[in-house]
Symmetry: C2
Subunit: 330 residues, 2 copies
Amino acid sequence: MATTLNDVARAAGVSRSTASRVLAGTKRNVDPALADRVFQASAELGYRTNAVARALRTQRTRMIGVVVPSLQNAYFANVVHSLSSEISDHGGGLLVAASEDQPEVERERLLGFRDSIVESLVVVPTSRVNSGPAINEVAESLPVVQLDRYADGVEAPYVGINNRLAVQLMVTHLRSRGYERLLFLGADEESSAGGERIEAFKVYKGSGDEIRVVPSFSVEAGRAAAIEIMEHSELPGAVVCSADVLAVGVFSTLQHQGVSIPEQVAVTGFDDTQLLELMTPALTTIRPPLPVMAKATIEALADLADGASRATVPAAAQRFDPGLITRFST
Amino acid sequence: MATTLNDVARAAGVSRSTASRVLAGTKRNVDPALADRVFQASAELGYRTNAVARALRTQRTRMIGVVVPSLQNAYFANVVHSLSSEISDHGGGLLVAASEDQPEVERERLLGFRDSIVESLVVVPTSRVNSGPAINEVAESLPVVQLDRYADGVEAPYVGINNRLAVQLMVTHLRSRGYERLLFLGADEESSAGGERIEAFKVYKGSGDEIRVVPSFSVEAGRAAAIEIMEHSELPGAVVCSADVLAVGVFSTLQHQGVSIPEQVAVTGFDDTQLLELMTPALTTIRPPLPVMAKATIEALADLADGASRATVPAAAQRFDPGLITRFST
DNA sequence: CTGAAAGCGCTTACAG
DNA sequence: CTGAAAGCGCTTACAG
């Protein structure tokens, strides 16, 4: 049906080899006159290289699978977006799937990718304790890197942020603005990042500060926490949330109750999603350097692919420094 | 390197044909004893079918490309999510790309997919007037369907919602609750859906109602509109927004200015994104039946693929009825 | 029911 | 610089 390389070669009066060399842009030199004829014939016939055939021959598909907990979560949407712009320059494609926060569906997506055209995988594990086995299984056949979160017992490389620095940045900022009695809202020990942030806050915690662990990274959990906060006789000076979704829940509930922010209490986020700009005033937050992280992830994948043949051991974990985004909630 | 079908066949002591028949699950019957040996050998060797080779042979990749204006927009994230769950049952994959609201990058993404492994395409055109040419170009080689929005001059099938009904539902609801002097906030004539909603409101517009067209579907535009609204001596009874992002901008700005919603003014959204649940109180909105639309989209793609051989003409446009989601902002 | 053979559409040593 | 040939890993008529 469709035009093939054979058709082009015939029309240009050259061999398939030559046609391939000019169309695929091989290094090899080709007589300019012949090349012209090939280009011409190709254009006239509306030739398109069959990507599948090429992939079979070259053993490269340049397709990367991505599994995130959810696409509807603004932060993960940002992660996918960064990955996407990183590889579109690279001439590859991104196959996206969501694990819906369930380890079983995560496993299904992972295995689905493993038996597909995908040649490597990036995963944001949904659960620190339960995501490991499926990731390891799939890592036997494909290069895999963990992004943003890691799962226990997995030796695949990890790219994340320096959560310790993030918390330090935020705490220092708040103290310098005179806020005291910080309330840190941690969540979801199931996620490695969540656990790390709680640990980090313990390091910088002052005597008047407090830590509360809520059941999940969700707006709902933030709302519930806000309601609980209001029941106390005294408001904290600042509510330091370990995720933007939490911050949004806290913020909108407090504001609706008539608490003025930042006058009566400061509220801060974590992740720098667009959600924060929906609030008035906009919230101070931590920005992970997503573009840099995406780049490192893709490179780690490439290293793994090479490593398979060169028997190199790639770096196990890379952490990048986040930035503090100061806005009007502090 | 990797185990191939040949290895399995040899280990099981059968021909490659037989091995293929049992592993690929062809209809053809195979002696159960042989089949067992094949399964066993396959398991022992850790055999994985090479998806690229299979695709080349069967001429099917089951990969669908999706181009949306942005992944960071909650509504499009929902669209992608629906598509994704529709096809993951189908045993296919979704390649995702964002056009960043620019027709030129949309064209680039579209062409990129056309020269890739993707076998069909769904696009949410970024511009009604400028997206057409690239879509038509790509539609020459691949089945393409337009989802949610359509571009002028494109004959590829379109799947969308009945915007007329949507507006009617909302207006009827507001009137039944006693709201008068409705202010309709329309936007972005560049998008077909935006234009349709404005036209629809004109149909149901009462004498005390008003239409304002803002420059874009964005939170910023909503904020600006809210500020303008506050400058008038009298507030409208309800602000009917033609997108959730607009509603969020209007809502959060009004609320921050001390206007109480819905007592002083009602605010409604359009799209049913999760954004609305971030607000307190949550907003009334219109819900497009995304799962149904995703299903229709995938089917339209399949029809197009068949049509290529059967010379059938598929339905040009399918519209689905949205629902009204009543919450506390009205 | 089974196997030998052809072929999907490319790219790339290899020989000239 | 160019072409004939091999081969990537499968599936599927075709013959038995």
